[in-house]
């Protein structure tokens, strides 16, 4: 779960990481007032989860009241790579001589956290990682002990950070690791960490991604995350229902259990010349109401012409799935889109007996079910 920049900055500032003076604004007037109060130059920054905001026109540097108004009018309400901008952060523009990258994340290959520092800050760090991996100094952290102060110093010196500011940067990194650790961070980054001509270090941006599985013990972050929720109506609905859902461009709606099997179903739809409309994983052990919610989701997507259910029960039980499908479909006088069902695994036979075959088409193999769903979709299109 990703926080907005203004939220992440608040978390960082509360922990003692220096951040520029800033105010959140939701209207043009609020933005102009904030700019006047902070004093020019200020940056006006769209608060949306989009990379490369600056290039896309979502960040503007302004020197006067007129420019501030113009920039706020441009940015508030704009559509930034598909996301509606409803909030901007008005922030003191820091006069810097250097920009660093500082980050903490989980190295899944090593199974351990890793702290990273680079003097190539202020640019897309993924590109740096790819083109010049040696430009990023890395230090793996033993999660049992946490980050020792010497490790923070070591990685800072290895990155080639100027001696005058090395201790302050190490201190920021130590705090960042502690935050990552305390708040169940996934990726926690400052890019850029600016160095001023007075050798001050200031976090000019803030990224805080938190492990969604750990939100039960991070109530404050969870609350911020609700505020930060974005995406189209269907994606928000999926969040509410708690599904892993990704909308795609096609017209065959797909519901299954288990990420690998659902992806395989997508691949098979494509293999049989159909076009998947979505990825929807109901997860393990789904009960009837969850299945009904999944159908509601896919029916809500107007691009969908046909739906295929692919359930291979392990912890999920076929009878529960069948009950959910019946429940969801019995509400309709006429089924909105043809539904093809393939049930296998735990309690699949019981499920097959329960399924109302007036409402759905039953197929016995994955291949048959996918082909049937693709045919239905083609019939609707024709």
């Amino acid at each position: 779960m990703r926080l907005h920049e203004y939220q992440a900055k608040q978390v960082f500032a509360d922990a003692g990481i220096p951040t520029p003076a800033s105010q959140l604004a939701e209207t043009v007037n609020e933005a102009v007032d904030a700019a006047e109060e902070i004093g020019y130059p200020v940056a006006i920054k769209a608060q949306v989860h989009v990379g490369g905001r600056g290039k896309a026109g979502g960040i503007k540097l302004v020197e006067s009241k007129e420019e501030a108004r113009e920039a706020a009018e441009d940015i508030i309400g704009m559509d930034l790579k598909g996301y509606h901008v409803s909030k901007v952060l008005v922030e003191e523009a820091v006069d810097f001589v250097n920009e660093l990258y500082v980050g903490v994340t989980m190295d899944r290959g090593e199974g351990r956290p890793v702290a990273m520092v680079s003097t190539k800050g202020g640019v897309n760090i993924e590109e740096v990682a790819e083109e010049d991996p040696d430009a990023i100094a890395r230090e793996h952290i033993d999660p049992a002990f946490g980050m020792h102060p010497f490790q923070a110093r070591k990685v800072v010196y290895e990155a080639g950070v100027d001696r005058e500011v090395a201790n302050d940067v190490a201190s920021v990194l130590t705090t960042l690791y502690q935050l990552w650790d305390d708040r169940d961070g996934a990726d926690t980054e400052i890019n850029p960490l600016m160095i001023t001509s007075d050798d001050e270090v200031i976090a000019a941006d803030a990224v805080m991604n938190v492990d969604g599985d750990a939100l039960f013990r991070q109530p404050e972050i969870a609350e911020m995350g609700e505020e930060a929720a974005e995406g189209d109506e269907l994606e928000q609905k999926a969040d509410e229902y708690g599904f892993d859902y990704v909308r795609l461009d096609g017209n065959v709606g797909i519901i299954g259990n288990g990420a690998g099997l659902v992806m395989t179903t997508l691949d098979l739809v494509d293999y049989y010349d159909g076009e998947p409309a979505n990825f929807l994983d109901v997860g393990g052990g789904a009960k009837a109401d969850r299945i009904a919610n999944a159908l509601d989701m896919v029916f809500s997507d107007e691009n969908v012409d046909s739906v295929v259910f692919n359930i291979f029960g392990g912890i999920t039980r076929g009878d529960e799935v069948a009950n959910g499908i019946n429940q969801a479909l019995e509400q309709f006088d006429e089924i909105p889109k043809p539904v093809t069902v393939r049930l296998a695994g735990t309690n699949a036979e019981e499920g097959m007996e329960i399924l109302n075959e007036d409402l759905v088409t039953v197929e016995h193999t994955l291949e048959d079910a996918v082909q049937r769903a693709v045919e239905y979709a083609k019939e609707v299109e024709a």
């Binding site: 989980m106 288990g258 992806m263």
Partner: protein, 290 residues
């Protein structure tokens, strides 16, 4: 023969009094698995499905001679449950079924794992089954059949699908290991492949991977360099658009080409592993390999 489990595997179920714990204990028993104990703090002395419950895993290991643990504990407490199993003397296999364990908890479990000789399978996995002998976890027993094909997969339901395709044409399995789709897991592809390579009764292996991470690429290199047992492969997520996360923590395609289905398929094929376009085609490949 088999890997990880055999006739002598004696299981303690952690979280046996919960809904899933109880249901799947019954299923495991029905399959003929030797479930000898449950472990739930505060429930020592009770019985579930005829199985005695202990307050601690250590108690179950000591009193009931349990030597393998299966974790059905809810995510908030599952990291601790894994620690308890790793800490218990006599437990040399831990299978963690629980989905949604915080990653930082797993990082600490993984750290502890490096200090022990215990095998950890999972978390967020369907478990391990040796058909006809034992199943530890939630895999539907009826689709498996005894034989000599080993299976390793990051996805539970995909494992079932491929097994179904194999069983339907009379190809049995030696052991199937669902290693789980989380960012941090115990036994990985290479760990499972090592086991199969060393097992004289596994004559071919199926490896099911998916987009995200580089574990499949590393496994492909391992196969090329170290394995005599033939391997067939399957990779899920060919149609996944870049930058989107598809369920499993690992199943995200970066824009840069690493971790994509194509990079995994190429790595496997370059190391002599035929990769099926569909689960049915995987079974074709296995037939050719045997």
């Amino acid at each position: 023969m088999s890997v990880l489990v055999d006739e002598d595997t004696r299981i303690v179920v952690q979280g046996i009094t919960g809904g899933e714990g109880k249901f799947h204990t019954e299923q495991m028993l029905e399959y003929g698995t030797n479930v000898v104990a449950g472990a739930v703090p505060g429930r020592g002395g009770q019985e579930v499905a005829g199985v005695p419950v202990f307050d601690t895993v250590q108690g179950a290991a000591r009193e009931a001679d349990a030597n393998a643990a299966v974790v059905f504990v809810p995510p908030a407490f599952a990291g601790d449950a894994c620690f308890e199993a790793l800490d218990a003397k006599g437990i040399d296999l831990v299978v963690a079924i629980t989905e949604g364990i915080p990653t930082q908890d797993m990082a600490r479990v993984y750290r502890k794992l490096q200090e022990t000789d215990t095998h950890l399978v999972g978390p967020n996995c369907p478990g391990v089954i040796t058909p006809g002998v034992a199943k530890l976890g939630i895999l539907p027993g009826n689709i498996f059949s005894e034989g000599n094909v080993g299976l390793v997969s990051r996805s539970g339901t995909l494992t079932y699908q491929v097994v179904d395709n194999l069983t339907n044409r009379g190809i049995g399995q030696s052991t199937a290991i669902g290693i789980g789709g989380d960012p941090i897991i115990g036994t990985d592809f290479i760990g499972a492949l090592e086991q199969f390579e060393a097992d004289p009764d596994t004559h071919a292996v199926v490896m099911c991977g998916e987009i995200g991470g580089e574990d499949e690429e590393e496994a492909a290199r391992y196969i090329g360099e170290h394995m005599d047992t033939p391997v067939a492969g399957f990779i899920a997520g060919r149609t996944a658009p870049p930058g989107k996360r598809m369920g499993h923590a690992g199943a995200i395609v970066s824009g840069s080409g690493t971790g994509t289905a194509q990079s995994k398929i190429t790595a496997l094929e370059d190391n002599g592993v035929p990769v099926g376009d569909t689960p049915e085609e995987v079974a074709d490949h296995v037939e050719d390999l045997l």
